[in-house]
Structure formats: C-alpha cells, structure tokens
Symmetry: C2
Subunit: 504 residues, 2 copies
Amino acid sequence: MNTAMKELKKVGRELTLLMNTAALLGWDQETLIPEKAIPERAEQLALMEGISHAKLTDPKVGDLLDKLGADEKSSSGNENLSDEDRAYIRVFYRNYHRASCLPSDLVEEMARASSLGQSVWVQARKENDFGKFAPALEKILGLNREAGRLINVGDHPYDSFLDEYEPGMRKAELDVTFGALKEDLKSLVKRIKDAGQVEMGFLKRDYPEELQEKFGNYILKELAYPLDRGRLDVSTHPFTTTLGNHDVRITTRYGEPNPFSSLFSIIHEAGHGLYELGFSDEIAGNILAEGTSLGLHESQSRTWENMIGRSLPFWEKYYPEAQKTYGNALSDISLETFYKGINAVKPSLIRVDADEVTYSLHVILRYELETALFEGTLSVNDLPAAWNAKMEELLGIRPDSDANGVLQDVHWSVGLLGYFPTYALGNLYGAQFMDKAYKDVPDLDDQVRKGNHAVLLEWLRENIHKHGSAFTASELCVNVTGKPLDASYFTQYLNKKYGEVYGL
Amino acid sequence: MNTAMKELKKVGRELTLLMNTAALLGWDQETLIPEKAIPERAEQLALMEGISHAKLTDPKVGDLLDKLGADEKSSSGNENLSDEDRAYIRVFYRNYHRASCLPSDLVEEMARASSLGQSVWVQARKENDFGKFAPALEKILGLNREAGRLINVGDHPYDSFLDEYEPGMRKAELDVTFGALKEDLKSLVKRIKDAGQVEMGFLKRDYPEELQEKFGNYILKELAYPLDRGRLDVSTHPFTTTLGNHDVRITTRYGEPNPFSSLFSIIHEAGHGLYELGFSDEIAGNILAEGTSLGLHESQSRTWENMIGRSLPFWEKYYPEAQKTYGNALSDISLETFYKGINAVKPSLIRVDADEVTYSLHVILRYELETALFEGTLSVNDLPAAWNAKMEELLGIRPDSDANGVLQDVHWSVGLLGYFPTYALGNLYGAQFMDKAYKDVPDLDDQVRKGNHAVLLEWLRENIHKHGSAFTASELCVNVTGKPLDASYFTQYLNKKYGEVYGL
C-alpha cells in the first residue's frame, strides 16, 4: 500500500477507536450511569472530542491528504488508488475539511450559542413564550450563515449544512422532491380523513411493562439481531450507538401511552443497528464503516419498523404470539382490527407522535421554514405565525400553543440546521429500495409471513449495508434501483397500504 | 496559583479523565460487553493507554516538574507551595519518573514477555508442567532486573517494584514485619488444628442464587454504599473500578461452591469502593484522589469484609434477616454455629480460597520466593521444590501438583513482582487502624450491632479516606495510630477472635 495511504489509515483507525470510546461514554450515560456521575461524564466526553479534533485537524493529516490528491471528487486525479481507497479519502477529506475550515473562535461562539440556545429554548417552551427564544435563534442563524460560507459546499448556503448529514444532497434537489411529495401526502391525508377512523380503543387497555419487555425481546430475536454483537437496554429516548465492529447497542423505553411504541422503537433501532452491523469485513472498523447518510440510516430503521413491522404479513406471523403474551387485552381483537389500529392515521401537532403518512408533512413544514429563515425571506419574529399557517395548510390543524407548535423540537436551539430533511428522506429511500427488493425477491411477503427475515436482511446487506459510506446515498440509490431518488415510490406504497387500511 | 502548578494540574486532570474512561472500557468488558466485541475492546484500551502515556511523558511535563523543584522528596525545597501541592507534585513526579525512565524498546520487550508469559502460563497450568513455563519466567525476571536498575528506587533492586504498589515501602522493612508475622501465624494455625474443626456442614445446603443476590443487595444498602454514586453488577471475578468522582462500581459473582462468598465479595469490594468515594472535595478528581497504596486499599476491603462482615456483632444484627431470606437452609442453625462456620480455618493449597488466618501465610510464601528469585539465591528450576517445601513449613500441607502449587497465580507470568506483599499488608494496616478506631469509638461493636455503620465509615473517612494519596501508607499509619506499621496488632486481633471461635 501507498505509504501516505497507510499513514492516513492509521490516523483514521485511531479516530474510529476514539469515536467508539466516546460512544460507550454516551451509551453508559443514557442507560446505567449513577445519577451523581452525570456532570463529570460531560468532561470525559469533551476530552474525547478534543483529542479527536486535534488528531483530525493535525497539519500532518492535511499534508497526507494533499499527497493523496484529495478533494471533494475523491482523488479522481490519482490513478494509483483503488476505488475503496478513493472513497476512503473522499470521506476523510470531508471530515477534515469540516473540522478545519472554521476558525476556532467561530467554533467556540457556535458552541456557546448552542448551549445557551438550548437552555433558553427549554425555558421558552415551558413558559410557552417564543419571544424569549427569538434572540437566541437569531444569533444561531447568523453564526450558521457565516459558517456556511466558510464550509462552502454546494450552490446554496443551506447546502453546507444539508451536506453534513446527507452528503451530496442539495437544496435544489430537495425542493423538487419535497414539492411533489407534499401534494401527494396532502391528498392522501384528506381522503383518509373523509373515510372515517379505524378502531383504536383496544390500544388503551392494560399491557404490563414486563410483558412489553418480554414480547420486545422475542421480536428482536425473531429479527435475528445478533446479541453476541450488541445489546438491548432501556433509556429515556430510544437510540442506537456503535461501540465497535461487533458492538452495536440499541435501547427502547417502556411505559409510553401507546403500549406498542416500545416494540416499534425496538424494531426501528434494530433497523439502524443491523445497518451498522452489516458493513463488509474489508471496511469494518475504518472510516467507511458508517452509515453513508442520516437519510439512508433512517431508511433502514423505517423499513423495518413501518414497511415490515407494521405490515400485515408480519402480524399474520406474530399476532398469535402477541395475543398469547397479552392475554385478555387482545383476545377479542381480530388480526385485521389490530393491524388497522396500529396503522391508524390522524393529523396531530407533535412530530414525534406522528403516523407513517403525516410524519413527512411535519418534516416538510420544518424544511420550508428553516430554508426561508436561512435565506432571510422569513424573519424570526414571523416564524410562529408562519408555523401555524403551514400546519393548517399541510395537516388541517392549528397548534393551540407555541409549545405544541414552533417550540416543540430541540434541533434549531442547538444549531441543527439541515437535519430535519433526513427524517423524510429515510421514508423515500426506504420505499424506493423496497420496491427493488420486492422485484428481486417476489415472495418477500411470504418470507415475512414465515418469520424468515434473513431474506430481506441479506438483500439489504448485499445492496446497501456492506458498502458503508463507500457510495453516497444518491449513488447507492442509482446503483441499486437504477434511478435517482423519486418520491413517487413512497407515495405509491402509502396509497396502496392505506387504501387497504381505510378502504379508499 | 503558581502558573506551572496550574499547567501541571491541567495535564493531571486530563490524565484522570483518561484513566476514568479506560476504566469504563474495562468495566464494560467485564460485565456487559457482547461476546464478539471483546477483541476490539483491547485496541480501544491500548489507544487510551497510548494517549495517556504520551501525555504523561511529554517533555513539557518534565519541564513543569523541574520548575516546581520536583523530586522524590515532594518539592521540599520549594517554599511557595502548599502541603497539598507538594503532595500532588510528589505523586505526579513518581508517575512521571516511572513512565519515562524506561527506554521504549525495554517497555515493548516487557510487554511482549508478559503477553507471551501469560499464554504460556495458561498452557503450563493446564498441563501441570512447570518446565513449560520456566523459560518465560526466566526471561521476565531478567527484564525486570534491568527495569529495576533503571527505576532505581530504594536500596534493594526489589524495592523498585514494591514501591510501585506500596510507595515508600522497602524490602528491609518487610523482611522484619513478615518475619514476625510468620511465626505468630504458624503458631496460631497449629493451635487451631489441635482444637478440632467447627461445624461447617450447613454451608453445603441450598442457597439459591436469586436469594444470594437479594441478600447481597440488602447488605450493600445496610453498609450505606451510595447507589447514586456507584453500581453493583456481576462479573467473572469480583472487582472495584473508579469511573469518576461519583462513579465507583463494584461487582460480585454468584454460584460459588461457598454460598456466602458472593456476599463477602460484595462487602470486600464495597470496602474498596467506599475508600474511593471518600476523598475530600479538595482533591476529588485530581491525581491525589487515589488509594495511597494497594496495601492500604486492601486494608479497607478486608476491614469491612473480615473485621466487620465476619464479626459476631454484625451477625447479631443480620442473622435473623439471613434466616428469613434462606428459609430452611438456616432455620436449625444457631447464630453461634453460623458465626463459627463462616470463620472456619483450614490450611488449603489455593491462596484465593484461604481463610483470614492462613491467607497471609500464602502471601509470605510468595514474598520469600519472589525476593529469592529476584536476588538470584533461588533458581527458576528449583522453584517448584522450594514452593512445596515452604507450603509444608508454613501450612503443613503439600501440593498434589504444580497446577495447585507454584502455577496457581497469574501474577509472575505477567511480570507482577512486588505485588503479592500488598495483600498481607492490607491485613496488617487494617488491624492497626481498627485498634485505634476502637479506642476512639469504644462502643463501635454496639454500633455495628445496631447496623449503624456510618460511625466506622465516618472514622475511616476522617482518618484515612479523605487524604487520598496525600500521605503514603506509612505516613498515614504514624499520623493516625501514632506508630509505624506493626504486625502484632493483626496477630492480637486474630488470637482474640479465633481464640473464641476455637475455644483456645
């Protein structure tokens, strides 16, 4: 191997090990840490962050990347490198550029603004007072505009942020994709509303937490989540975290109002986890062994959660076990009633509680508002009114308060701009990939009906997981499905599924 | 504060945070890690080790220590420093000197020899073939002799190693202390043997693991172990580890042949943990917030385990609860029979299974043999015969095999020389401190009888814990008890307790 490449990979390996170590600090903090140890844990995490940053932005790394002819086009000029090495350099360069292009005083000011922003947001939400949060948001937007100019990716200043979570994605493309999606979803939501609601009363019955835990663990094993390469634990918010090639841990929470949300969280996080556990041996433990974008990551979790875990074939297999587990709560509920109930669609104010159909509309709302804020075509002071008007336009309901409207999400308060779109992109990628999976495996529903989930997992591994970040999400999409991202796969899937559920 | 002092403390703080982080990696590996993640965990630990070593041996640190007038005598020449700062510099200098005085090729060779030594030892023990292990041990001894010369602490080459675990302790002092202890213990063991054995049959009854767990957790709470600053988990070998000022975790194991060993492990590790949780706020989180020596650490665990946890007043309080927990297994056993049974003395081949009386003889045997090996007055090839002869001399029994004799412990195979003595020193320090505690708190037994363990804990905190490493164990011993270490406190304690148990 090329000496510079070898040296770069040594640094990259250390960065991965540091990231894994920080992930353990974070995982432990969310699951097991003794209460009084939490403040000091922040110091431990900050030190890991500092060591990683110093290692990544070491001038030696810049020299190595120069030697390897790195640029955003993945060392295309360097003929001596393998495709994998080029991909490695592309990802490394991206990380290096993002970490080193901002002056440290700007980075510190952004960190302060985020930290302050979050605490002000908590207070503003509690007091239902957007005015309290507005100056902090104004400040964050200003700093991010400056940072965006320096990061300087894409044609639109918003692209610098979008690209952080969704490498290669641009605002111009999203405008088109989300524009089409929005109209289709609005129309479907309206037809569902006109059809009348399905039976959901059985979800209010008693489903003891220990039975939820038992059933959740049963389903996790059925999905063949490898418990010698991961764990399932409990935390306040469900998440997935990677502590090593063979150590991907997921969490869930019990005791939600909806008794099946613990289960769907397990399936959702297992989807993320199976992606992280599916990288090929060639890239395992190096910098390419990461999900290629947040949108693609979310496609894996949502495919398992919604397209499999909330499908009729899945419950044809597992509903008898659910009835056995929960006894009286489900004994008089038919499979069909159960299936429809767990897929009920109902416009609601809060994104994280939204169903599969309305969820993407919550995301599009945020996307349209944050791009307008970023461009300056919407002022911060006009944001609450714009939010409420858009809720009415997209979902036909109006927030009763800013706390249940514009103040509901933490993201903007900590400077996460360009992040929201990835939630909806997950749905779109998922549907487009699954369309191809059904073409490649025509009896996939039968396999799900038999609990033979290895068939889909194998397909996902071979087509998506094994590559890690070697291809961008757009590249993968074209390579696997033959077409660029197209929202119509998702709307076709929804129209078919919810046409049946609501008899449209 | 002095600028150099401030800079040194910044480095020290980072070293502590790195040590805590490595401790989490280690704790997780022993308790929860998914099986297949273990090999990569070693890489993560090695990276933490490497980063810490580079930080500690940075020439900048040497300059700071020079500026502060550091030497083994704790900057005695520098009049501008507080006592605490002098202690800080003394400990920092010690760590710095040990980390930087050995050339890196010797360090690497020692690491290789230890790694090889351990795997050869595993094989040799399995095959009961000391000859297989002998060359590896010879190599390790040679490298350690060289390292000892370079570390260059004390008058005897063995002192360089002893001092690593027991700062300030010297072979000359140990020879005297252990010499006296040996004769007293031999005599006591003989008298016990002549007295005939106590009733122990009830220990073979059924004590289900879930009840052991329940009772163990109950006792841990009774000892006021703060579970908002620590945890109790399960691992193959019980241990205590410090992950932060407010995060000290202990472990135990269930399912031993002796049904009470899980409990005594909990009490033992809680003793270590309470020490680590008792440092004063002034030193918390800095380099002085560590046990001052392994011997002193062991004194804390053994005091709680043996002098409290195996005492009659303790069981006067808790035996009714034990009877309630275990039902039939203890219903016909009197408190007195129980108390005597859990304190039974019986010479045995294996150190880790030894009782309170014979344990120190196992340690003295290893001490005498390893110093002789180190000096060259005993050759490696003669070691098994010397071991067996000494077992006969000290304990009156002869190993049936090398696997149950000279090959039983891992320590020598990984180059841990000078470590064994600390196990016995723990007993000695413990007894000498407790003699003073009983003088200061004459009704201590009554307090134990009432389950009021805060009284002893408070005494230990005030006299020992709060100081961390600000004083050496010898200094603490003189400061608290008014006298240097004296083995007769321990033998007096044993003579009294076992005189009663065995009616001598």
